[in-house]
């Protein structure tokens, strides 16, 4: 099995007329968990949507499994990569299970209805996200963190090799931040998926990421193994705020001044 999933070369990403960064080379392999770090408005969301193929890059090439992203038919692409957008909102009352089952959409033919197999997958994903008790609840009654976990469960049943997540731990409580990221890490390690996510918590990023991409001021990019990339100099520059790194047992902890 070819380990290289996503291959970006010379990627330039803009938001409106603002150049966020140019010439990003990024290779994401199976088993890797990438954290995208950077200040508000540096282009994390735009990058994730570009990698997902929802918007075209200003310049550069983007390949998924060796095939240019734009050449994948939408349905097939949806079985190869999934995206958890930021802050989804649900206008209509819908059962949590039914929302999660929507993740099976790309796997079902036009006339097919969800099978027992799909329902088992949904139940497993709900269990992994600690949502068993809420399976039959109305999604509009859930809290922000619970809704976030519903979105991740839907992404899990979509079952793509490449998972792109926009701030998956936003709104989550301490316990679920750790268990959700732990589950995602196991998806990468044991199931050979690749994960790219944006995150603001440096300590969680350092704990779970194999690799980091830091988007600095003026679109200056740093990338590589998480441990070496996430250093005081790079992070302080990226956030425009002094960040100190200290050893704490086996881990590195980051403290903002």
């Amino acid at each position: 099995m070819n380990k290289l999933l996503l291959d970006a070369k010379g990627l330039a990403v803009v938001a409106g007329t603002r150049m966020l960064f140019e010439s990003l080379d990024l290779q994401v392999q199976r088993g890797e968990l990438w954290c995208v770090l950077g200040a508000n408005g540096c282009g994390k969301t735009t990058l994730l949507h570009t990698l997902a193929g929802l918007r075209a890059p200003r310049a550069g090439t983007l390949r998924l499994k060796g095939r240019p992203l734009a050449e994948w038919p939408p349905g097939e692409l949806a079985r190869q990569r999934g995206l958890l957008p930021q802050a989804q909102h649900d206008a209509f009352s819908t059962r949590v299970t039914d929302v999660v089952l929507l993740g099976r959409h790309p796997h079902l033919g036009r006339w097919a209805w969800e099978s027992e197999h799909d329902r088992r997958l949904a139940a497993a994903a709900l269990h992994a996200m600690d949502l068993d008790a809420l399976a039959d609840h109305d999604v509009t009654t859930l809290s922000g963190g619970e809704r976030q976990r519903v979105g991740i469960a839907a992404l899990l049943v979509q079952d793509p090799p490449l998972l792109l997540l926009d701030e998956p731990v936003a709104h989550l409580d301490l316990h679920h931040q750790v268990t959700v990221l732990d589950h995602l890490r196991r998806q990468a390690r044991e199931r050979g998926r690749a994960i790219v996510m944006s995150i603001h918590d440096l300590n969680l990023a350092a704990r779970f990421a194999t690799h980091a991409l830091v988007i600095g001021p003026a679109g200056r990019l740093h990338q590589g193994p998480a441990e070496s990339t996430m250093n005081e100099v790079v992070l302080s520059a990226a956030f425009g705020h002094p960040v100190a790194a200290e050893r704490f047992g086996p881990r590195t902890v980051y403290v903002a001044d």
């Binding site: 949806a78 079985r79 957008p85 006339w111």
Partner: protein, 333 residues
Amino acid sequence: MARALRLWLMLAAAAAAAGLLALASGSVATPPGEVWRLLWQPDGSSASQVLHDLRLPRALAAFGVGGLLALAGALMQVLLRNPLADPYVLGVSGGASVGALLALMLVGSALAVQAGAFAGALATIVLVFALARRDLSRLDTTARLDSAPRLLLTGVMLAALWSALITVLLMLAPEARLRGMLFWLAGDLGGGDVGAWPLALLALVLVLAWPLARELNVLLRGAAAAQSLGVPVLRLRRIVYVLASLATAVAVTTGGAIGFVGLVVPHALRLLVGNDQRVLLPACALAGGTLLLLTDTIARTVVAPQQLPVGVITALLGVPTFIALLLGRGARR
């Protein structure tokens, strides 16, 4: 799936019963058994003529219009991701009203009124499409706001413009024409003979929309989620917009601006059977048709020989029912 079939069958049975009731009721009541016989074997009697020339076409029109409105309402609610959307929210009924009132004022024949209404509705559809080009032809999944509010506001503004024009027309209209114009605005099925047109279009819209129903479920999660699940969001939005608008245009042309069916029926069904569009769309067509058939029967019999505009009855019945449903649902939480 089995549950959906059961629901549809139940609604179809209710529709058939409502149809029989509508055909039996009127200034001269016909017993249902007699209705059934005359339906298949017209015998030239006056009861048979009333049935075939008056009641049957009107019942078919009522069912078609009601189904179209409920279906259009359900589709608009998905398109705009807004539970308060109804078929008229983007101004189609306002445009149709201006066209119909102009025709009533200047020409007066039933055919001219229908032509005017349809032209007004089509003009609005094209206008909204042109104004909301950004939402219907460009996808910006990273935008902070969903694009739906802009489309919605465009429609609301257009509706406000139409409503100002309607007021002007009513002020300028000659006394003698005013009553007919008010009847039209309230929503009335007593207009010209439209045959089975609305019913045929109802079937067509349903056949075209139903295969898209699961994609519509996904679309409700938002543009970014839907697109990343392989749903062609822009194409789907355009198809839904055109289907819902055409359904509304034909409904309004036939029956005027009948309110509440398009808002209440999809909602009531969502509360009862959940939010799966695969189940909901056919259910809306059946329940909307049945509801309008029943209310139209009330409208033409309750103060007979006078007739009330059916839109008044749908509002009088629809509003309290809907409020009761909403409050009842709130209480169970």
